[in-house]
C-alpha cells in the first residue's frame, strides 16, 4: 500500500534561498509523524507543496499514492490542514465557515452542517458557533483551525505548529483530540517547536535542516545517539580528575565531590564506571544518569556553529 506521504528529492527555491533542497522521506499510513527543524528548514514549504499552496521546482510528492500536482484533487481531498497562520474567512460565523469548507470537499449541506457541529463540539467551541473568527480568543482560534481541519474527515491530518502560543491546559486538550484521531487510524504529520511534545507523541520524527531531511528515526533511537551525562558522587572529593578507561566515555569533569561523566550510553557505561572507580579506591555514594533529550540531539544535528540561539529552539 502506498505510504500516506511520499516525498522524493523535492526542490523549491525562492530566489537564492533553497527552501527545499532534495527533501526525501515517507510517512506510513496511521503514523504519528513529527517534522522537526529550525526556522527556515523548509517545513512549512513542504506542507504547502502537499496542499497546493506552493509549486515545487522539482521532485515528486504523493499523498496516499496521488501525485500532489497531477492528481491534486484526489490528494487534497484526503488532507486536513491546521496551518500556522490564521487564515479564516472573516465574513461568516464560524459554523458557516466549516460548512463551506466541507462543501468545497463535496459534502452536501445537511451532512456539512452535522459535521460542522460535530467538529466544533470536538474542539470544545460549539457555544461560539455563531461568532465570527475575529472575535474568538487566541486559544479558541487555534481550536477552530483544528476543527476546520477535521470537518472534512481527513485521512491525513497536517498540523503546522498547532499549539503555538497556546497555554498548557489547552495544549493537553488539543493533543488529547489528536491522539484519539490517530488511534482511530488518521495519519498525523506534525511540526512543532515544542520538541518534548514531538518526543512524547510521535512514532517517528524527521529532523530537517536547510531543506533536507537529516535523519528519520523514532524519538528513542535519536535520543540514544545523543550523549548522556552520568553524575557520580564520591564520599571524598578527589584531588584530581581520575583517568578512567571505560568504553563509551567521552569526557570526565570534576565538580567538587561529583564527577560528571559524558558518555554515549549512560546506562551501558555506568556498571563499568563504578567498577573502575571502586578499583581506584573511590567510594561511590550516589549515581544519577541524565539521558540526552531529543532537544539536545536536535540542536546537535542542526547546529551550524554557535548560532544555537537562532535555531529557534523553544524549550
Amino acid at each position: 500500500m502506498e505510504p500516506a506521504i511520499y516525498a522524493d528529492d523535492l526542490r523549491k527555491a525562492y530566489g537564492d534561498v533553497r527552501a527545499l533542497d532534495g527533501l526525501s522521506f515517507a510517512v506510513d499510513r496511521g503514523e504519528f509523524f513529527g517534522l522537526l527543524g529550525p526556522n527556515g528548514a523548509g517545513k512549512t514549504t513542504f506542507i504547502n507543496v502537499l496542499v497546493g499552496l506552493a509549486h515545487m521546482d522539482g521532485g515528486t510528492a504523493e499523498v496516499f499514492g496521488y501525485d500532489v500536482e497531477d492528481d491534486y484533487r484526489e490528494a487534497r481531498d484526503r488532507i486536513g490542514l491546521s496551518p500556522q497562520e490564521f487564515n479564516v474567512d472573516r465574513f461568516f460565523p464560524i459554523h458557516e465557515v466549516l460548512e463551506h469548507k466541507a462543501g468545497y470537499h463535496g459534502i452536501p449541506q445537511g451532512e456539512a452542517e452535522r459535521r460542522a457541529a460535530e467538529a466544533l463540539q470536538t474542539v470544545g467551541i460549539y457555544d461560539k458557533r455563531d461568532t465570527r473568527f475575529d472575535w474568538l480568543s487566541g486559544g479558541m482560534k487555534r481550536r477552530f483551525l483544528l476543527a476546520r481541519a477535521l470537518v472534512t474527515d481527513p485521512e491525513l491530518l497536517i498540523l503546522d505548529e498547532p499549539t503555538a502560543g497556546v497555554d498548557v491546559q489547552l495544549r493537553r486538550d488539543l493533543w488529547g483530540v489528536i491522539e484519539r484521531l490517530n488511534a482511530a487510524g488518521t495519519t498525523v504529520l506534525l511540526t512543532t517547536h515544542y520538541i518534548e511534545e514531538a518526543e512524547r507523541l510521535c512514532d517517528r520524527v524527521a529532523i530537517t535542516d536547510e531543506g533536507r531531511v537529516v535523519d528519520v528515526a523514532t524519538p528513542d533511537e535519536l535520543r540514544s545517539r545523543g550523549t548522556d551525562k552520568v553524575y557520580v558522587t564520591l564520599a571524598d572529593a578527589p584531588a584530581e580528575t581520575p583517568a578512567l578507561d571505560v568504553d563509551g566515555v567521552r569526557e570526565i569533569d570534576r565538580d567538587g565531590d561529583t564527577l560528571v561523566v559524558t558518555a554515549g550510553g549512560g546506562g551501558r557505561v555506568a556498571p563499568a564506571l563504578l567498577r573502575e572507580l571502586e578499583y581506584a579506591g573511590h567510594e561511590v555514594v550516589d549515581l544519577d544518569i541524565r539521558r540526552a533529550s531529543l532537544e539536545e540531539v536536535f540542536v546537535d544535528m542542526t547546529r551550524v556553529d554557535d548560532e544555537a540561539e537562532e535555531l529557534g529552539v523553544v524549550g
Binding site: 487534497r76 463551506h100 451532512e111 452542517e113
Partner: protein, 307 residues
Amino acid sequence: MAPGPDGHSGADAAGGTAGTPGGVRAGARATDGGTATDGGTARDTTGHATGGGLLGVGFRSLLKREILRFVRRPRNTFVPPAITNVLYFAVFGVILGGRVGTIAGGIDYLLFILPGLVVLGAISNAFENASFSIFHGRWNEYIHETLTSPLSYASMVLAYILAAALRGIIVGLIIVGIGLLFTSVPIERPLFLAAFMLVVPLLFASLGVIGGLVAEDFDDLTVMNQFILRPLVFFGAVFYSLEILDPLYRTLSLLNPMVYMVNGVRYGFLGYQEVDPLASLAVLSGLTAVVALVDVWLFRRGYGLID
C-alpha cells in the same frame, strides 16, 4: 465629481479587512446558526467526492458563499449604487435633461442615459465583487480554504465569476427600478437586452478576477476602477449620442469597448442602435470566454495566489 456606483469600494474594503461590525453583523443575526444537528444525509459522503464535477457540490458551495457574502451586506453592495443612481437620474436626467430635451432622434434624455447607467452600475459591481472577494481572500489568506480543497480550478473561477456577475445584474435591475421612479421604461428587444445584461456583467466579473489576482494593495482596486473603468465608461456614450461627436472622436470612440456594451443594452431597451448589436454581442461573448479562460489559467498557475 460624481461618486459613481463604485464609490463605496473603500467602505466594502474597510469593513471587510478590519472585520468591523458594520455590515457584517447583520449576517450573523440573519443566520441564527442553530441548524447544528439536522440529522444530515447518509454517511455515503465519506468516500471521495473530490468536490464533484464542474458544477458539483463543491462548486455550488463556493457559489453560495460568494453570493451570501454580498447579499448579506446590502449597505455595502446595493444601497450605494441605488443612492448614486437616484442622484444621476435627478441631476442629469431631470434637472439637466430638461434643458437637453430629446437626443438621438427624439429620445427623452433621461431615457437615453438609463441604459448607460444600468451598464455602468452592472459592470462596476461585477468587477468590484470579483476583484474584492478574491483580493480580500488573498489579503487575509482565507482563499487558502478554497485553494487547498479538491475543487477544480475551473469550478473555482466559475463560482467567482457567476456570483460577481449576479451582483452586477441585480444592481442593473435596481437601477432600472430607480429609473421607473422617474419615467416609464420600455423594453423593445427583450432577448437582446437579456443577452447583453448577461454577457456584459460576466465579462467584467471575469476581468475582476484578474484585477483581484494582480492587485497588491486595496488601493490598486480603487485605481483600476478610477483610472480604467470610469474613463472608459464616461467616454462610452453613456451620457451622449455618438452622432453629436466630430467624425474623428466618433471613430476614436469605436475603439472603446464600452461603446458596444452601452449601445447593445440601449438597443435592448429602446430599440435604438448606433453600432450593430449582433456583432457587438458576438465580440463580447468571445471576449468573455477568452478572459474566463485566462482566469482559469492564472488560477492553475497560482498567479498571485501561491508561492
